[in-house]
């Protein structure tokens, strides 16, 4: 049966080559778009690991003021914590959740080096963002030592550096002069939101006397802009030259998400239109081709083939054709996981390949089914009569 179908197609290879190119091109487009979607969906399905609701970000810029910054920031923190509306507040580096800022470095343990994102935060960070710990605890003021900086790492980092060992209490090195001591492990911290890949991450302690510009504030639910206005006014009164900006994490999360979602939607819409275009074209071509083979169908029916047999033959032909094109397409597509293009996980490409193959088969089946069904319903006497 299969050999017969191959022969039928081979005999008309000139006419079919254009169809093969068309199906191949659709596969490639589909593969590209689905890889993009699979990558983002894969990330989206992993939780971000922290709670962003009712958390505000205070961005303080000192401008031309350079005197006694740590002291001033200490006073500001005291003031912020004194409001009854504030549940918890934490100072952090500029790479606050959902912001565009990124900080990365690499650290070594036992000659294994891993590059990671790092966040400089104070001891209230896990409380402010509800960041639960898998092992150990969050660092405290008492962990500070002259020899090392206390840190917390995430699970991904633990997996990369410590295969079976317990990471707690271990020292890792950033360079010859700087070491970190691990006091805790968190599960996940996807600071750039749902669509971020879960990268190795490290939190290092921001000491009381160090200055950094951002403050995360967890407020009681229902706190409104009136409190915010008061907060800004009070802080502005304490530091007349400083700039103060408040933003909500839930808002910045939405902006951040749009950065990923909008391009995906645009690609999806264009791809959808293209595939509709192809499907319509394919349907038209198959309709014409099958209509032209009426007497062939009549002959087969007269020889005792059932309606089902005829339908299967035409469907089989288009499946063989699609398989041809897909094999050519696969030759291109497998290069992506093999060559690690864009450094993506090969699972993503494989998912995309499988999904594209499925979609292509569904499209060609739908396009071929109706014409072949119609053709098979022709009465043999009628079909043979025409010539």
């Amino acid at each position: 049966m299969l050999r017969h179908l191959f022969k039928l197609i081979w005999n008309k290879k000139g006419a079919h080559s254009l169809l093969i190119i068309e199906i191949w091109a659709s596969f490639m487009v589909l593969f590209g778009v689905l890889s993009l979607i699979a990558f983002n969906l894969n990330n989206y399905l992993e939780p971000i690991g922290f709670e962003y609701k009712d958390v505000w970000v205070l961005d303080l810029s000192t401008n031309q003021d350079t005197v006694n910054l740590p002291e001033k920031s200490l006073r500001i923190m005291q003031r912020i914590r004194s409001y009854p509306e504030v549940i918890s507040a934490s100072r952090t580096s500029a790479n606050t959740p959902f912001s565009a800022n990124q900080m990365s470095n690499s650290s070594t343990y036992n000659k294994v080096s891993v590059s990671h994102d790092f966040y400089v935060t104070d001891e209230d960070f896990s409380k402010t963002l509800d960041l639960p710990l898998r092992k150990g605890r969050w660092y405290e003021e008492s962990d500070i030592s002259a020899r090392f900086i206390p840190i917390v790492i995430n699970k991904k980092m633990e997996d990369k550096l410590f295969a079976n060992e317990n990471p707690l209490g271990k020292l890792i090195k950033e360079n010859d002069t700087l070491s970190y001591k691990i006091v805790g492990v968190v599960d996940k911290y996807k600071a750039k939101g749902e669509f971020m890949t879960d990268n190795p991450a490290l939190f290092k302690m921001l000491k009381k006397e160090d200055w950094d510009r951002n403050v995360l504030i967890k407020v009681k639910p229902g706190t409104d802009a009136n409190f915010e206005a008061r907060l800004v006014k009070d802080i502005a009164a304490m530091t007349d030259q400083w700039g103060i900006e408040v933003s909500y994490l839930s808002e910045s999360r939405k902006n951040r998400q749009n950065l990923t979602v909008i391009p995906v939607v645009i690609f999806l819409v264009i791809c959808g239109f293209l595939l509709t275009n192809v499907a319509l074209g394919l349907f038209g071509i198959l309709n014409l081709n099958i209509a032209k083979r009426k007497n062939e169908i009549g002959l087969r029916r007269a020889m005792g083939a059932t309606e089902g047999n005829v339908t299967t033959q035409f469907l089989g032909e288009i499946w063989v054709l699609a398989t041809f094109s897909l094999i050519i397409g696969l030759i291109f597509a497998v290069q992506f996981p093999l060559m690690h293009v864009f450094d993506l996980n090969s699972e993503i490409y494989i998912t995309a390949i499988l999904a594209s193959i499925t979609v292509i088969y569904i499209i060609v089946t739908l396009c071929a089914w109706l014409p072949s069904r119609q053709a098979s319903l022709i009465h043999p006497a009628l079909a043979l009569h025409e010539d």
Partner: protein, 416 residues
């Protein structure tokens, strides 16, 4: 004769509405995607309000410290001091505007929070940019020298902050971070995609918190150099570069020495391309380009293949018609003309739909507020070029097989 051919074409189209639909769908869809895309690019890179002189402007947006092998680098906008010293002093340009990168702050009115984009500029900014003033006027050098607390706001902020009470707002106060600023002018806002001019509030650079005093080459400011005419641009770049070469090297920044300094005055599109491609290795760049090219080819090629496919399959349908026409003495040339006109006709029809469709999509985007103050327009030259491309594929796929068939012997053509 021409009218006759068009009539035939029209009848042929109506005979199989479904196939006509497929062909038209393919043509108009491809053209629409192409046109919406180019109108986006034009929106971002073209010369539009308020940067109506962008075509004769150069942008100085980033100062890069690096070493000769480009392994360590430190990059950011320039300082006000640097721009005054090296850009303001240029002899060739007409004017040089200095403005800050956008900053953010909030204003509070009646328990409501208004998110604000802020920008600090000099007085020349208002000369180089063609902002339309709905009320009042821009601040001048005298306001700047006095350190007046005056601001120019956009119409959108006027509506939000003064809650649309209809009274003129000139001379009224806006409170930002506990400082009161007097509104001196209201401009029509610009889209957020014009990142060097977009803002809600414009302050004179001597207002508090502008950081124009910062020492060093890097800071928070960018310069826009306006040439008298477009042909002066290379001369200005040359003058600027020779000034930069006089800066003593290496540069010391945060206790690190950088032997190489890169500052360029680029045209708008160039400075984007440079920023995009500057730090990637050659191999990555090659991969990026080949994949981008492949994606584009696929997106544009697929409708073309589809068009060819449908046309080629349909031509057999016309075989008997060709045969009959030949039997009655039509020369091959006449047949060829008929098919050419038919194809041109259907392409124009598709182009007409595409024009309507892209116009509708662009209007929707402009009205949706997805980009505030969006002013997308249809680019006529792109439309014409893509029509030509469609025509090419249409002729290739429709006329060539038909022409071949017209050279068949009559008996064979009739038999099919």
């Amino acid at each position: 004769m021409l009218l006759n051919y068009i009539k035939i074409a029209w009848k042929v189209l109506l005979r199989h509405p479904f196939y006509t639909f497929i062909t038209l769908f393919g043509i108009s869809l491809t053209l629409t995607v192409l046109m919406v895309l180019t109108s986006f690019l034009d929106h971002i890179f073209g010369t539009h309000y308020p940067e109506n002189k962008r075509f004769r402007s150069l942008y100085i947006t980033s100062v890069t410290y690096t070493d000769s092998s480009r392994t360590t680098r430190s990059q950011g906008p320039a300082s006000f001091r640097f721009l005054t010293q090296y850009a303001k002093s240029l002899k060739t340009p007409e004017r040089v505007a200095i403005s800050s990168m956008f900053g953010y702050t909030n204003a509070y009115v009646n328990g409501k929070r208004i998110k604000l984009n802020t920008k600090y500029t000099d007085a020349d900014f208002w000369y180089v940019m063609d902002f339309e003033f709905l009320e009042g006027k821009p601040y001048n050098q005298q306001n700047i020298d006095n350190g007046d607390h005056v601001i120019v706001i956009t119409d959108a902020l006027r509506k939000q902050y003064f809650e649309d009470d209809g009274k003129p707002v000139i001379g009224r106060n806006v409170e930002i971070e506990s400082i009161h600023y007097k509104v001196i002018g209201v401009v029509k806002g610009s889209p957020a995609t014009r990142i060097y001019t977009y803002s809600d509030v414009y302050f004179p650079y001597t207002a508090p918190k502008s950081n124009y005093q910062s020492a060093g080459l890097r800071g928070n400011y960018i310069g826009i150099v306006l040439a008298r005419n477009e042909s002066d641009l290379p001369a200005i770049q040359k003058e600027f570069d020779s000034g930069i070469r006089k800066i003593p090297l290496p540069i010391v920044d945060f206790e690190q020495k950088y032997p190489v300094l890169i500052v360029q005055a680029d045209k708008y599109l160039d400075h984007f391309l440079n920023a995009l491609l500057r730090d990637d290795s050659l191999k990555n760049r090659f991969i990026f380009y080949s994949i981008a090219g492949f994606v584009l080819l696929m997106f544009m090629g697929l409708p073309a293949i589809n068009l060819i496919n449908v046309n080629v399959s349909r031509i057999l349908e016309r075989a008997s018609e060709i045969g009959v026409r030949k039997a009655f003495g039509a020369p091959s040339k006449a047949l060829l003309w008929q098919f050419i006109i038919e194809n041109v006709f259907i392409t124009f029809l598709g182009g007409f739909f595409a024009l309507g469709l892209s116009f509708a999509i662009i209007q929707i985007i402009n009205a949706s507020g997805w980009i505030a103050y969006a002013d997308l327009t249809i680019n006529v030259s792109v439309f014409l070029v893509s029509m030509l491309v469609c025509l090419f594929f249409g002729l290739l796929s429709g006329v060539l097989p038909a022409f071949r068939m017209s050279r068949l012997r009559i008996a064979e053509a009739l038999k099919v």
